[in-house]
């Protein structure tokens, strides 16, 4: 599927955030977050620690709806829709701090997601068990399929979350630092998987601290700093951007 420019007026972008604000008590975690992510490509979201990336994911998925601002999916405002409804509209995610189903096995984690999907999509044709096996194979967890997830190290556990998210057949997948916990070879494989998924038409919004990985897989990158979008562009443009460099240097301990 060919990628479109997000600003093209013909079809609205799949996901669009406009001036999203979220505050905790008096602290503005997000003061002006605007971004788009579209089908068929990986969009990067980077920023120093505490920039508000995870908070934006929570605003998009409805776990913590925005105080003000818009979240649009396919042109429709969903900023006050409840989380499970948003999921049913095709938004899936993984979590930075793992939210795996620890008391279930890897296979059960993916299977239960498929079963939940089957119930709300009323799609009885797909064999969710077979789909689960495929996904487990695809993220490379076949050898661990029978392990309980709370006995897995971080890297594979992140892949479980990914397979689980994919089991709901989403239109867009938000991934919060999926690369941490993977070694170099695994990261390579993972990058390939992301590109494949995007080529199949999935929209991916990727939060990642591994800059190399981001530069490799992302078509567009958005940079968040102190709750504000400070830059947007292709990987090359971002690498040259002064504001981005300042943000990263400024917070480097």
């Amino acid at each position: 599927m060919p990628s479109r420019k997000p600003s093209e007026p013909a079809a609205p972008p799949l996901l669009e955030c406009r001036e999203v604000k979220v505050s905790f008590g008096g602290i503005h975690a997000l003061s002006d977050a605007t971004l788009v992510a579209d089908r068929g490509m990986v969009t990067g979201l980077i920023g120093p620690n505490g920039a508000g990336k995870t908070t934006l994911f929570n605003a998009i998925t409805g776990l913590h709806p925005p105080d003000t601002g818009l979240v649009r999916l396919d042109g429709e405002d969903i900023s006050q829709v409840r989380p499970h409804r948003r999921a049913r509209m095709g938004i899936a995610r993984t979590f930075q701090r793992l939210e795996v189903f620890g008391s279930l096995t890897v296979r059960e984690n993916v299977l239960v997601a498929g079963e939940i999907w089957r119930r709300w999509s009323k799609n009885n044709e797909v064999d969710v068990a077979a789909q689960a096996e495929e996904l487990i194979e695809r993220v490379g967890l076949r050898h661990l399929a029978r392990e309980r997830v709370d006995s897995l190290p971080t890297g594979p556990a992140r892949l479980v979350e990914m397979a689980r998210a994919l089991a709901t057949n989403p239109r867009i997948m938000l991934m919060d630092e999926p690369g941490s916990g993977l070694n170099e070879a695994e990261t390579d494989e993972f990058a390939g998987l992301l590109i494949d998924l995007a080529e199949e038409g999935l929209a991916i919004l990727l939060v990642e601290h591994d800059v190399e990985l981001v530069m490799r897989v992302c078509k567009r990158i958005f940079v968040l700093d102190f709750g504000r979008m400070i830059a947007e562009g292709t990987p090359k443009e971002i690498q040259r951007n002064k504001a981005v460099q300042a943000a990263y240097l400024g917070t480097a301990a």
């Binding site: 008590g25 929570n58 998925t61 409805g62 776990l63 913590h64 409840r82 989380p83 499970h84 948003r86 999921a87 049913r88 938004i91 899936a92 995610r93 979590f95 701090r97 793992l98 939210e99 795996v100 189903f101 620890g102 008391s103 279930l104 096995t105 059960e108 984690n109 299977l111 239960v112 997601a113 079963e115 939940i116 999907w117 709300w120 029978r146 392990e147 309980r148 709370d150 006995s151 897995l152 190290p153 971080t154 556990a157 979350e161 689980r164 998210a165 089991a167 709901t168 916990g181």
Partner: protein, 641 residues
């Protein structure tokens, strides 16, 4: 309207006591993030200590008061924080609830051990002296109570808003790491807040004991009224807590004075605070789903047995019951039957809490409805009675859950407890139900050709039923619904992002679990062949949850261990009457130890002996639980990092 003044004064006095107690609850909660279920028990224990010093040891009132309020109670609070609460994972709502419930039970046991139950007079301050206002007598004790409440309000307000320590105290609960960055020491602050909280609980207990009665249970459960008041301020706001306390105190007083409650509504007065608690809980806004809460209940569960294995388990259980029947006398056999019936009720908690992560303090109440159904429609032991017991309890469970669905963890637990109180005070005692101070005969199952009327037969029946319900529970666990339940228990937030409607899932699991509890109740009624309101006391819900968790809330064998212990432990007490309260002490201690090891006895046994059981090897199904503990640590670390 010459009644107005005396009742207003009475209301203000009760309100003051509620306010003092409730503000202690709020202080510990805002600072440590742990809801102290044992708050009332601490107050009770302190009141007894005061009585001991003042009456038994003849210390002057000011000295005794000083010792209790400023030495003993704060030390107790600090000790509790240091030993029990500090290492508690605050996110594990069930564990922290169970640990404080365990502490409650333990303190009751301790008090009953030290102060043998007998009538004791708790002196009022300045004896019976007082003065008259517009013809109404006001005692010094009442005056002092109101003044002290005002003093507590002023001191807390000053402490929390005007001192650096207070600001730090309020910061701790929101973000421990942040608080320590700003130079505050969360542990010391938390310890201090427990000391202050205990001191306030003590003051509340000492003030109310002369008015009520110096009795362990009554004093301990007075705290429910404080919960209601504290909930008005959502456990955070002290001013609102005071408002709630006085509103509650005055309403209670005016109701005694002006409202003549008849029939069904007689139960309204004792359940008024709970009713208020229930209403406030229902009016609370929906909580946000939060990520990173961690599993609500239990630690790891042993792997799930296959169908073949669980059927073998049933066989072993029934055979064991058969063997036991040759050894035990009729009385002891009845005990075992009782344990098995309670075990069935605990199995309902395995599904609800162990798998689904929802807490309920009303399972015994559902059981009460089941027993009633059996008594009413089960005649001489018709199987329809048992079916109806489950069928009637299910919608009641759903009904309780319905308004409570928006609530999570702690609030849900309190709402179910409030329901339990209301059912006990308003429904069970109704004459169309069991009736006040009365009971109904409950038949034992009779299948025409086979009757289970004999003690041995009934015990064997219960062993079979427990086994079958256990197989049912494991069947659920292995199927799609069980997977969804476990997923919800592990991470509600992740479930929602997969598109799961949590509300419907919770409704379903409450209904199923209540049905199981109802069945258990019908069988429990059959053990003694009668059932009445006193068999389903609200208090008894606590040991049921406690021992289910101690046994192992995620396993069928845990329910068996829990049920049998609950039935058999009192025997110990009967045989050694000197150890009054030992049961309380033991269960309490076991529950308290959960803070360190939340897995329960069944898990321990499975881990220790499981590998030696030959037919467990090479089975299909879930993964072995033994795989790599170090790796678990890693996941954990990331999750809390």
């Amino acid at each position: 309207m010459d009644q107005l003044l005396p009742f207003t004064i009475a209301g203000l006095v009760t309100g003051s006591i509620y306010a003092v107690t409730a503000s202690g609850l709020v202080v510990t909660y805002t600072t440590s993030g742990i809801f102290n279920f044992a708050h009332g028990a601490i107050g009770m224990f302190a009141a007894f200590t005061y009585w001991e010093l003042r009456v038994n040891r003849h210390l002057p009132a000011p000295v005794a008061l000083f010792l209790v309020l400023f030495v003993i109670a704060p030390l107790m609070g600090a000790l509790i924080e240091r030993v029990l609460m500090r290492h508690l994972d605050r996110a594990q709502v069930v564990t922290s609830l169970v640990v404080t419930i365990g502490l409650t039970v333990m303190l009751i046991g301790l008090a009953q051990g030290v102060w043998k139950p007998e009538a004791r007079a708790m002196p009022q301050f300045f004896g019976d002296g007082g003065f008259r206002v517009a013809g109404t007598f006001v005692s010094w004790h009442q005056t002092i109570t109101v003044i002290l409440a005002g003093g507590v309000a002023a001191i807390l307000w000053y402490l929390l808003t005007k001192t650096r320590l207070g600001v730090a105290m309020r910061a701790v609960v929101d973000d421990r790491n942040l608080a320590s960055l700003t130079g505050a020491q969360p542990h010391r602050i938390s310890m201090l807040s427990w000391a202050i909280g205990s001191s306030l609980a003590a003051l509340g207990g000492i003030l109310i004991a002369p008015v009520l009665q110096l009795e362990t249970i009554i004093l301990t459960f007075l705290v429910i009224n404080a919960y209601a008041a504290a909930m008005v301020g959502r456990l955070r706001s002290l001013p609102l807590t005071f408002v709630g306390a006085f509103a509650l105190g005055l309403t209670e007083a005016y109701m005694i004075g002006y409202v003549d409650l008849k029939g069904f509504w007689q139960g309204l007065r004792p359940s008024l605070p709970t009713l208020l608690l229930f209403v406030i809980l229902l009016a609370m806004p929906e909580e946000r789903l939060r990520a990173n809460l961690g599993r609500a209940a239990g630690g790891k569960a042993p792997r799930v047995p296959s169908l073949r294995e669980s059927l073998i388990g049933v066989g072993v259980l029934v055979a064991a019951a058969g063997l036991v029947s040759f050894v035990l006398g009729a009385g002891d056999i009845q005990r075992v039957s009782q344990g098995l019936a309670i075990g069935v009720i605990m199995l309902s908690l395995v599904v609800l809490t162990g798998y689904g992560g929802q807490v309920s303090l009303a399972q015994l109440t559902f059981a009460g409805f089941g027993a009633f159904a059996m008594a009413e429609w089960g005649g001489g032991g018709s199987i329809f009675g048992l079916v109806l017991a489950a069928a009637i309890a299910a919608p009641i469970g759903a009904l309780v859950a319905l308004p409570a669905l928006r609530l999570q963890g702690l609030y849900l637990a309190l709402a179910t407890m409030a329901f339990a109180v209301m059912a006990r005070e308003m429904i069970f005692v109704d004459k169309r139900f069991f009736g006040f101070n009365s009971s109904l005969p409950v038949g034992r199952l009779d299948l025409g050709p086979i009757s289970f009327d004999g003690e041995v037969a009934y015990m064997l029946l219960l062993a079979v039923v427990f086994g079958l319900v256990g197989v049912f529970v494991l069947w659920i666990r292995r199927g799609p619904f069980g997977r969804v339940l476990s997923a919800m228990g592990d991470s509600p937030a992740a479930c929602a992002t997969l598109g799961l409607d949590l509300t419907r899932t919770k409704l379903a699991v409450f209904a199923i679990s209540a049905a199981m509890a109802g069945l258990g109740g019908a069988l429990l009624g059959g053990v003694k062949s009668v059932a009445g309101p006193t068999d389903f006391e609200v208090l008894q819900n606590l040991p049921i949850l406690l021992l289910a968790v101690v046994g192992g809330i995620t396993t069928v064998s845990g329910a068996l261990i829990g049920g049998l212990s609950l039935a058999v432990l009192p025997v110990l007490q009967e045989r050694v009457p000197d150890l009054a309260g030992i049961v309380f002490l033991l269960t309490g201690a076991a529950a308290v130890s959960l803070g360190r090891n939340p897995n329960g006895i069944a898990f321990f046994l499975a881990e220790t002996f499981g590998r030696f059981v030959p037919w467990r090897r090479g089975s299909r199904g879930s993964a072995e639980a033994e795989a790599g503990p170090p790796a678990t640590e890693e996941v954990r670390k990331v999750a809390v990092a």
